[in-house]
């Protein structure tokens, strides 16, 4: 008993270590990411500026770190909203299916999937303007139609499982089956999709930057990486520093999530 408890604690510590590491990446702000100083423009990495500097003389590492934090917040919130909305939508779909009115919701959802995401982003940018919440809502609305479909498929697949069939056979209540049994099987897979979708939203945020949904000079890591693309051969640190930081951050969070979900 004693040994088991210790293993559990060690496991939890190891899992949380990943998250701590991920959050630590948001704290690498050793210089002001907004301070403009043309005299130090476009310097390669050095002791003073470990990430090198950009066109406006700002520390690239500080901007990448601050940008990562900002994108985590924005894309993370958007993903949570989208996931929540998808779960609610699916619940509604299941309820409607019981009264044979599923098509009332499933048809508009399928139609929403046919609207090009960038067009949605452009329209929402015009409507909501360049505010943080505007950006979050835009990202959530872009992700939602596809997330609904994925969640639906995972739930359907889980329903086909033999032990679920068994549960239905012995007459367990619908909600109990849904939340305790289907939920436990589908949840890890849905969470895995959510994480990958979150990655996509970080990338999409950069794209939305083109339509004016970001507020310069606040950094956004996707935009930092994307804008550095043409300069990979000339000023590689402009791309490598935020790119590596983003990749590292996402890998670290992914590892944490995978470990956390493996327990189930």
């Amino acid at each position: 008993m004693h040994g088991e408890a210790r293993t559990n604690l060690a496991d939890h510590l190891r899992t949380s270590m990943w998250f701590v590491l991920g959050l630590a990446l948001c704290l690498l702000v050793f210089h002001d990411p907004l301070k403009v100083s043309p005299e130090t423009a476009l310097r390669p990495p050095s002791f003073t500026f470990p990430g090198g500097t950009d066109r406006l003389g700002r520390d690239v590492l500080a901007r990448a770190s601050a940008g990562f934090k900002a994108s985590l917040g924005v894309a993370g919130t958007a993903e949570i909203i989208s996931l929540g909305a998808s779960l609610i939508a699916n619940l509604l779909l299941l309820l409607l299916a019981k009264v044979r009115l599923k098509a009332l919701l499933s048809v508009p959802l399928l139609a929403l999937r046919t609207v090009p995401p960038f067009l949605t982003g452009l329209a929402l940018a015009a409507l909501l303007g360049a505010t943080n919440w505007g950006l979050i809502i835009a990202l959530a609305m872009i992700s939602f139609p596809f997330e609904v479909a994925v969640v639906e498929e995972e739930i359907n697949a889980s329903i086909e499982m033999p032990h679920i069939e068994g549960a239905r056979a012995i007459g367990l209540p619908f909600y109990m089956i849904l939340f305790r049994h289907v939920g436990t099987i589908a949840a890890p897979r849905i969470m895995r999709y959510a994480l990958l979708d979150f990655v996509g939203l970080v990338a999409f945020e950069a794209l939305l930057g083109f339509v004016g949904m970001t507020r310069p000079p606040a950094p956004s890591i996707g935009a930092e990486i994307y804008n550095a693309g043409p300069y990979v051969a000339i000023y590689p640190w402009l791309f490598l520093v935020p790119g590596l930081l983003l990749a590292a951050g996402l890998i670290v969070f992914n590892a944490g999530f995978t470990r956390a979900l493996k327990g189930r």
Partner: protein, 560 residues
């Protein structure tokens, strides 16, 4: 499970090979146009060669009265001609008119057309092209510039030509100010003395055959050309290429000019530069992200040419809306921006600092050193005292400004730089940045909603009056698109005098005086003049100018 896995693997590999075989395409070198050229008219010189050029944009239309972008004008300048053409140095020279004279009061201009000028053959329509260009074709083209549906060119004539405004509005059936003296002579009557010649280099005044639209449809000229220029527009495949073929019947074929020009359209400057490095292009434009590579390639024997453009990157301030209605604020903002740092440290490779409003390619430009002396100075201390006085008068503690920019590396960098400069040097001023798309920017600016935003203009024809197009009172022509809501009687009077100057030097002096007034009134915040950079392959000489960039008709030659 292992056995199954092996079979899966094998099946996938086989499938992959098959699919790869089906989809793989060998990288082709230069693209040869597939359309049938008009062979009978095609040029044949002793040494035929094809110039391979590059571009980053598409053509928006072939119709002279509907194009608004510099690129389309650039290409079509080789296909169409007006009464007046532009030399490689950017000066007006005879085009379809061999000579002209004006009355002593400068209000009546007579143009004598060259005889025997041929139009390009018409394709896709049953229209008989006239034997040569005559005055009635000129009249027809000018009428269309004023009244064609969707035309953006009426402003060229409405403020200066008699009867043009009435004709454009549909109030009269003829243009009072155009008189056909004989088939080769046309006389134009103006409302006021004006140097008409530069206006007639504008694309809206390019000439095509009378009756073409009635015979072939309103949309015909959007996708076909019937010009008189040295090249015919053979083909335009959006996002792929534009092909120009020499016109045999052109009156003055330059013996070293290319027989054909293939302009490949790229979506990004790096790809174009790579193509040049691979030997697939003869000319490529270098921009802010590709200039270092261009410099490297120049060391291999290629030729990197640069020319200061007729371009101004600036910040618009609405002179009628607070706080920009106060000259102290306008002057202070001008004085806190270190333009040298912007041009040389931040936006390396973009262009030069702008201390005034006249672009460097203009003959009226005073020179970089002189304008730095006479233009806006970097003086944060004086700016601070101006702002303090202003705030005291208004009983305010701080000044909140919102600077609107569009998206892209240059505008965003400029916006962030300006914000930092203002806030660092003026502690009681706070600037927030708002980013919008370019179409939204145009709507805001020309819809009269703009207050404080970054904008730019690029004038592609000689014409000193055009530098001031965006500063005249009134939103509608005849006085331009006054984005700054600038309203100065002194400026207007001086403008009328300057533009009435039929002597070039008098005009340039007048324009400089106008610039002085604008600097004194701190109408806007000039920041940068762009520099055009072109990399030319060894042995190719293509003259570039700050207006039209590359007129192929002039001396583009190959030593190979």
């Amino acid at each position: 499970m292992k056995g199954v896995t092996k079979w899966i693997l094998l099946a996938i590999l086989v499938l992959a090979v098959v699919v790869a075989f089906v989809f793989y395409k060998k990288q082709t070198k230069t693209v040869e146009p597939k359309a049938k050229p008009r062979i009978a008219q095609a040029i044949k010189t002793s040494k035929e060669w094809v110039l391979r050029d590059s571009a980053m944009s598409n053509m928006t239309s072939f119709d002279p009265v509907k194009i608004v972008d510099a690129f389309s004008v650039n290409v079509l300048a080789n296909v169409y001609e007006g009464l007046v053409n532009v030399s490689p140095e950017g000066r007006p020279v005879p085009g379809l008119a061999k000579s002209w004279e004006h009355s002593p009061d400068g209000k009546a201009w007579t143009f004598h057309l060259k005889k025997g000028v041929k139009f390009h053959p018409v394709t896709g329509c049953n229209f008989k092209v006239p034997e040569e260009v005559t005055a009635k074709d000129v009249l027809y083209s000018f009428k269309r510039a004023l009244s064609a549906p969707g035309a953006v060119t009426s402003w060229i004539f409405t403020d200066i030509m008699e009867g043009a405004l009435e004709f454009a509005k549909g109030e009269s059936k003829e243009i009072k100010g155009i008189e056909i003296v004989d088939p080769y002579t046309i006389k134009i009557h103006l409302k006021k003395p004006y140097f008409l010649v530069t206006r007639l280099t504008f694309n809206g005044t390019w000439i095509y055959p009378a009756g073409i639209v009635e015979a072939c449809g309103e949309d015909y000229l959007s996708s076909h050309e019937v010009g008189t220029g040295p090249y015919m527009l053979e083909e335009f495949v959006p996002d792929d290429r534009i092909v120009l073929t020499g016109f045999k019947a052109y009156r003055q074929i330059h013996e070293k000019a290319p027989a054909r020009v293939v302009i490949r359209i790229f979506s990004d400057p790096l790809a174009a530069m790579e193509s040049f490095a691979a030997g697939d292009l003869d000319i490529v434009e270098a921009g802010i992200s590709t200039l270092p590579k261009a410099r490297g390639l120049a060391e291999e024997g290629n030729n990197l040419v640069s020319v200061p453009a007729n371009y101004l990157d600036y910040i618009v301030m609405n002179n009628k809306k607070a706080p920009f209605d106060d000259i102290r604020v306008r002057r202070a903002l001008n004085m806190v921006i270190d333009r040298e740092a912007l041009a040389h440290q931040v936006l390396k490779g973009f262009g030069t600092s702008a201390y005034g409003f006249i672009p460097p390619f203009s003959p009226a430009f005073r020179g970089f050193d002189r304008i730095k002396e006479q233009g806006f100075k970097f003086n944060p201390a004086e700016a601070r005292s101006l702002i303090e006085t202003y705030l005291k008068d208004k009983s305010k503690q701080t000044l909140e400004l919102e600077l609107v920019i569009d998206s892209g590396e240059v505008p965003e960098t400029i916006g962030q730089f300006v914000k930092a400069q203002v806030e660092n040097n003026l502690p009681n001023v706070h600037v927030s940045l708002k980013k919008i798309t370019w179409p939204a920017m145009l709507q805001m600016a020309f819809g009269g909603e703009g207050v404080f935003y970054r904008f730019w203009w690029n004038i592609v024809i000689p014409g000193e009056d055009l530098y001031f197009l965006f500063y005249f009172p009134g939103q509608d022509p005849p006085h331009g698109f006054n984005l700054s809501c600038y309203d100065s009687k002194e400026f207007l009077t001086e403008y009328e005098t300057a533009m009435a100057g039929l002597d070039a030097n008098r005009r340039y002096q007048g324009v400089q005086q106008l610039e002085d007034i604008m600097i004194r009134d701190a109408v806007a915040i000039p920041l940068l003049h762009k520099t055009f950079y072109f990399l030319e392959k060894k042995g190719i000489t293509c003259p570039v100018n700050g207006l039209l960039k590359k007129p192929y008709i002039y001396s583009t030659s190959s030593e190979n």
